[in-house]
Amino acid sequence: MSLISTADQVPVTDNEVLDEFTIPFGSWTEESVNWITLNLEGLLDAIAWPFEFLIDNFVEGFLVDLPWLWLVGIMFLVALLVRNFTVAVGTAAGLVVCGLLGNEYWEETARTIGLILVAVLLCVIIGIPLGILAGRIDAVWGVLRPTLDAMQVIHSFVYLLPFIYFWGVGAVGATMATMIFALPPLIRLTNLGIRQVPEDVVEAARAYGAPERRVLTDVQLPLARPAIMTGINQTLLLAFSMLGVAAIMGAGGLGRLLFRALGQQDVSLAASSGLAFFILAVILDRIAQTEVGHTNLFSRITTAWKSRREPEVLLDDPAFNAELRKGDTTPADPTIDADDEGAEGSRTPVGAPERAAIITSIVGGALMVVSLFLTWANDASKLTGYSRRSDQELPGESFAGWAAEGGSWFAFGVTAMGIFVILAAVRVLVSSAGGRWLSPDGALLAAVGGLITAVGYFVTSPSPLTVGYSDGIGMWVAILGGVIASAGALRWVQVAPYGPRRPLKPKIVAAPIVLGITGVIFAVVSMFSMWALDERADAVITPEIQAQIDEVVRAAAAGEIDSGPAGSEILRIRAQAATAERLVVDGKSSDGPGLGIWTLIFSAAGAVAAAGAAGAFGLGDRRQWLGGAFAMGAGTGVLLIAVGWVGSLARASDPNFTSGVGAMIGGIAGFMLLAAGNIVIAGFERSQVYGDLVLDSDSNQSTQSSARASTDPAGTDDAVRTTVAT
């Protein structure tokens, strides 16, 4: 490799000349990697230690081993604390779905949650301090910035390589790679957040003598909080996507299932793990999202804690007040009102008729809850009798609501609704602050939903093969409870002081009607779709099929095709034969539960109610309110019937007997009705505060008032605002 070349050297313009000047970058790197792995083992171990520790103890030792409902409960609480009730319920529901996909999926779901948490936790520990340093010291940012730029240009696969070299294949290296991949946005956003804080506000803190530490904690961090929260959210999502890639190098979790499904071209595995992956992403994203304002439970708790000694009490203290009055005070600017808090503040107290209705609802709700512990099935199992042959005949035995052979998920649904009714009732009675739905309409919704669910269990026909089945007392108690709770809640809605939180549109609203009709269409489709798939019958190998197989065997023996493809060809032929023998049960068939028909019936009822609520029959405000709640109840019921069927079968699952897509479509119908009712009813509240027009800081207000501007004479808005203010 000498530059002083002899005559027969290739010319420099020729590509071949490049071979003579090879830069051995690859082998240098290899050398260094080797050296590091050999000589710096201690360092590598030290770096890996926190990851190893957390993965071993927290993920594998705790989360994966945790009984699944515990994890659901924990996540519910976490979501409730950092976000709100809605997100918490969504979280729990989503996780339940992940669990119902099967134990395998659940385990990987739990592992995924754990790995994500570990990665994000370490990102936060490293990223936020780095971001703060970068935000406060230009020199640090000067170094970090190009580094981060480079990190974000590199393809995610490339991240894996060094970790494989240094720490080998496995969860530890994969989590590290994930962390490094997910780190940049957190650093960037923290830095940005700190820098965005207005200079004069920071200067004000300094001018009042704050040490730099307090400048950071009192001003810069609080004001950078939204940016940092966004950063954490971004990091979480990036970690999530990277964890899918990291499955290649042996990270556990749903990514592994996806990866396997990809390799095996297994559609069912791919779909199920994909679904779990998606649900988990949505859940974690929701939980980690920045809350607008301070409405989440956690911050409310801290605010409440801090306000123990808030100075408002000082203002009420007459002695101190007198002292204040001595100083001559300029009258406050009257044009600016403290805030229109009145809309939230004043709740109409509970009157006697309302109280009676509430008590009735509570009784019904309590019956619904109690039913869980009573017998739902005698001498056989209604639901698992489909999937488990042994459950088709269980003479002399009886099963409670919670048992798989008993009410199972139908009973769970009824109980949940009962609890909701009770919560709503108690909350209004003690009139403490609560969510929008802990109110009469929420109670009616839950009562009707629970009733329909119980009735759904009642109308489910047992498998034709089931012998001697009879319904237990628990089911009747559930239905009775549903009826009482519905009646109580109905009455409650009729007598409760109520008020639209914003004015109702005078015209018929199209959206609920459209949604209701769509729901009914879905219900019809559901009725004709598969509710159960029975593949337990063995493939019948007819002589023709046998001939096909023989042909393939012969071709393979003759060497015309390779043995591998031949094997899969034979499998395919057998599978085809089995497909011909499988039993598809649709929603109306008497061989199945027959729930498709009832889904349609309940959906239709809900759709009619939704149409009424939308103003189609010229009903008054209160009836619209009622109709909306009823439509939502029907939607909930239909949804719970679908969940009950799918969930109950999933509990006693036979890989060859599964619930069908019809149940899912039925569930969608239920959702449509829920949405239809919600459009109307979300505008109402239990308390009637300022006549029929109540203004609040609802985000819908501006759109509403502009919509109203066309129908109302101009100026109404101002007139109302003045009354509110005075």
Partner: protein, 402 residues
């Protein structure tokens, strides 16, 4: 009076090497633009000297970029100075570091900012109490002090609100209350009222002066508005390109501008002045030409002069007190005492236009379009009016510099 704040020979240069050639050039008196062109360094302050006395409102006034903010920030060491000394209460501010500096800032002074600079995430009362919070005062005590400060500016009903829920004027009052809460000796106010609209600003100025009358703080006030400076300042310091141009009482600034630059400002004020002759002229009370000098003097009373009119009501001559006394002493008649070399003006003329005429000390005849006497303008009144800066500025509310 005791001196509270003193800047002596203060230079502030912005740039990588503030103590290098730029400082030498600045000390040699090279103008700001030249220094910038030659060294790339910006002169913030160049040889600034002033003293703020205890209990006075000292206003620093200058156009945008003249170094006012830089100057005020050296007082609490938000800026370190490149050269020179900043003394507060006999202590060298530049020598302070760390916790000494923080304690000094907390205890000695409160600062009010142009754009309020309230902490948006804290309630009004927590904003006001921030200085005390940093001092480690217990919450209850802190809240009491904060409420007291808020009551000074009339905002205690809003204690629990967030700053964003208040109007601009109210927010700045919160800023003022924050500065007052720890009861510091010194208030630093950097364009405190400049972001407010004129009416609110006026109100705030009144409020601040009322508070000042009660609490007797030492106030270093920054503004770019000469009207504001003249209105509230006990003394005014005018800055240009980082240097002090003139320091003096508002009267000094108005009547004895030190340089053409200041004169230009004052000119602006004069031209802006819309006070018209008819606002300070008195009714004519013409003199009958047939009376004696004694009777004429009696007729004058405490006026400086009276005009004699012709048949059409036009002024033809004037009797002044001085002339009357002189002639009556010599025993002359009224006709000897009358003079005809008087000045005239219209009732709608501004005071500025008659300023020169008034310099002769003779009464000026105010005549209408047809030449008839409608008023009598006493030169003493003009001077009085000019001296009464406050009322002079009160007459108009025009933003001179923006």
């Amino acid at each position: 009076m005791k001196e509270k704040i003193r800047l002596s020979g203060v230079y502030k240069i912005f740039g990588d090497q503030p103590r290098g050639r730029a400082l030498d050039l600045a000390k040699a008196g090279v103008p700001k633009d030249d220094v910038q062109a030659r060294t790339g360094h910006v002169i913030g302050l160049t040889d600034v000297n002033f003293t703020v006395r205890e209990g006075e409102i000292f206003v620093v006034m200058g156009l945008s970029g003249s170094g006012k903010s830089t100057a005020i920030r050296t007082v609490n060491q938000l800026h370190t100075v490149t050269d020179g000394e900043v003394i507060v209460d006999g202590e060298d501010v530049q020598a302070m570091t760390g916790s000494t500096l923080q304690a000094f800032r907390r205890e000695k002074m409160g600062m009010v900012f142009q754009h309020f600079a309230l902490f948006p995430h804290r309630s009004v009362i927590d904003n006001v109490g921030y200085g005390l919070n940093v001092q480690g005062v217990a919450k209850r005590e802190r809240d009491k002090a904060s409420l007291r400060a808020l009551s000074l500016v009339g905002l205690e009903p809003y204690a629990m609100n967030r700053p964003s829920e208040l109007s601009g004027g109210m927010q700045q009052r919160v800023g003022l209350a924050r500065a007052l809460a720890a009861d510091p000796d010194i208030l630093l106010m950097d364009e405190a009222f400049s972001a407010l609209d004129p009416l609110i600003r006026r109100q705030m100025q009144d409020e601040m002066m009322a508070i000042q009358a009660e609490l007797q703080k030492t106030i270093l006030f920054i503004t770019h508005d000469l009207n504001e400076a003249l209105r509230i300042g006990d003394r005014v310091c005018i800055m240009k390109d980082g240097a002090v141009v003139q320091i003096g009482t508002p009267e000094d600034i108005l009547t004895k501008p030190a340089t053409g630059y200041v004169a230009e400002f004052v000119q602006d004020v004069d031209q802006g002045r819309v006070i018209q002759v008819n606002e300070i002229m008195v009714e004519p009370r013409p003199l009958d030409a047939s009376v004696s000098v004694q009777e004429g003097l009696q007729h004058l009373g405490d006026r400086s002069g009276a005009f004699v009119l012709d048949a059409e009501g036009k002024p033809v001559s004037v009797l002044t007190t001085g002339d009357g006394i002189r002639v009556s002493g010599m025993g002359g008649s009224l006709a000897d005492a009358l003079r005809t070399d008087f000045e005239t003006c219209g009732p709608d003329d501004t005071l500025a236009s008659v300023y020169a005429a008034a310099g002769r000390g003779l009464p000026i005849a105010v005549i209408d379009d047809s030449g008839r006497l409608v008023g009598n303008l006493d030169p003493r009144h003009i001077m009085e009016e000019m001296g009464r800066v406050e009322s002079l500025i009160d007459g108009f509310e025009r933003e001179v510099f923006l």
